[in-house]
Symmetry: C2
Subunit: 346 residues, 2 copies
């Protein structure tokens, strides 16, 4: 356990959810952009809330813990920490076969009493909220990974994903894990099942990622509400052929198979109408040599994967050309897949 | 090329399509049961059809080549062989990157003139028609693999899958490849796309397969017609989580993940009502230690996968118990995944 008042620094990566054909199940973390956070345990004054959020940026996000995504994630964690005997939990975890479990190093004396001790969290959001690259997930995931470290790592990664999903509920109304899972685990992740939660790390070959964030607002809740609740069986079959192809391509390191599988016949045709220039941009990026790509999460950011860095840079130029042509402000990133997830600077 | 009149012997394995969650895209071949065939090239008498089918079993299947699945597959092959210059095709195939291509060893002098030469095919069906373990696919696949061998292997495996799909159209009205692909390639196969055809071989760990064939008739066409043409998005998401999990599980050799992923929330709830005792049988097989399983293709056969042979044998006993209890005649098989596909006895 980290002593009270000692700050730790946290780096929480942006993430691309869905990965084109894997709506609500696939996602990956990238090395840029990322959020910076600082956290410490503090002694609480009488009546002081157990979580204090301090914004270090200009986004004016809520600081009320219940309305802040990091706060909501931490509240879920404190609740479970307090409700269960951590000692018993640790023993139980040790006896499971879950190899991703980080078992507790706490002794009974070290248990934290959250009526007397709380978390102070400074958040410097470098991932713009609403950009579609997991800004809320980075805050939630960063907070719970940091808190777990401060407490001596009593919780497993799967526990942390579960807690952080409470932040996603605050942000979008839905407890989804397709950004949280890669943000915490790093790499490409498959959320095979939400209830019960099962996250599977998928190996992947070296991939370069080009992201463009056109400066328009697409609310996750809106992007969800326009989706049709029913899909045609024939489209579903195409989609699961592509998902199976993408998983096989990633695991075999077969770039062409990855490229061919990056097609979405269900979500993209509906959501892409919310993003100006999407069709032209897709054509231009593929013509520039990208393996494939599409909407990042619920948008408006768009990502494309490339085998070579040079291609990823050429793709960036095409993206800039399209949005300069449309007179739309935008940011671009050329980066790689982040394999570590949230990290603590030690 | 094999000399005219020289018989070859062919073994064509049964196959399990869908593999529970992979409707229309996944399938695997098994070592038992299998069809036996013999084929040769013959000089045609004046006016004689280019294909002669001889049934060596008691199923009274049509011998008119257009109505026989093996005949329909061979007709498609002869048409393409005759329409294209095989020499040009061979050169074109050599220049592609498709490593599964078996390039032609034909010279121009060896080209077969199908107005003068034809195929004679003896079929001994050991896979009962309508059993749901790819009986029609075995005949179509066996015929085209045999014919390709007789002609000196001018066609690739992907070509052969395409030809054999014409047999499936005769059998069920639909050109599906989820039995044909594993029958020709062996192992577990993914049909990522039908048009254009793309078959991907998936590695798998050792798996024991228990199959029960209750002696009732379920026509493939009927089993297709009762399916709903629309599925709920939330069910589709569950299904593609399981498909991704199954592919990852097979490739990682993770038996537990394979087991957890063998769930079908879309097709099985509808089709299983056609199969007496399905729910009880599923419970009993899983209780006996099977990883998971479900309907083989469109039924009525049911398959379960096990990690150990002893478990597969215990599963067989549960299957027998259920169908003896129902007073329903049945066959069972305990076998393994066939890795070779159709083989020629040399």
């Amino acid at each position: 356990m980290v002593p009270v008042n000692q700050w730790i620094k946290i780096k929480a990566p942006a993430t691309v959810a869905n990965m084109v054909c894997g709506f609500d199940i696939l996602g990956f973390a990238v090395n840029n952009p990322y959020d910076e956070m600082e956290m410490r345990l503090v002694h609480l004054a009488a009546g002081q809330a157990s979580i204090t959020i301090i914004n270090m940026d200009d986004y004016n996000l809520p600081t009320d813990p219940e309305k802040n995504v990091a706060g909501a994630a931490l509240l879920a964690m404190i609740e479970e920490y307090t409700a269960n005997s951590i000692i018993e939990k640790s023993l139980a975890l040790d006896s499971t076969e879950n190899t991703s479990t980080t078992s507790s190093s706490l002794t009974e004396n070290e248990l934290v009493d959250f009526s007397k001790i709380g978390f102070e969290v400074k958040i410097n959001k470098r991932i713009k909220p609403g950009s579609g690259v997991g800004s809320s997930a980075a805050s939630s995931a960063g907070a719970v990974v940091g808190a777990n470290y401060l407490l001596g790592n009593p919780f497993s990664k799967d526990d942390l994903v579960r807690f952080a999903m409470n932040g996603e509920k605050v942000a979008s109304g839905v407890k989804h894990a397709d950004n949280i899972a890669p943000c915490i685990h790093g790499g490409v992740t498959l959320v095979r099942s939400i209830f019960p939660l099962e996250v599977i790390a998928l190996p992947s070959p070296t991939l370069f990622v080009t992201i463009v964030h056109p400066q328009i607002e697409v609310r996750t809740a809106d992007a969800r509400s326009i989706l049709k609740q029913n899909v045609q069986l024939k489209d579903a079959i195409k989609q699961w052929g592509n998902i199976a192809g993408l998983v096989a391509g990633l695991m075999k390191g077969d770039y062409d198979l990855i490229g061919r599988s990056l097609e979405d016949v269900i979500i993209e045709p509906v959501r892409s109408i919310l993003i100006p220039g999407f069709d032209d941009l897709k054509k231009a990026c593929k013509a520039a040599g990208a393996l494939g790509g599409g909407i990042s999460g619920s948008g408006p950011s768009i990502f494309f994967l490339s085998k070579e860095k040079e291609t990823a840079l050429a793709v960036e130029q095409e993206m800039k050309k399209i949005y300069e042509g449309l007179g739309l402000a935008h940011h671009t990133y050329v980066t790689t897949i982040n394999q570590e997830g949230v990290t603590i600077e030690k």
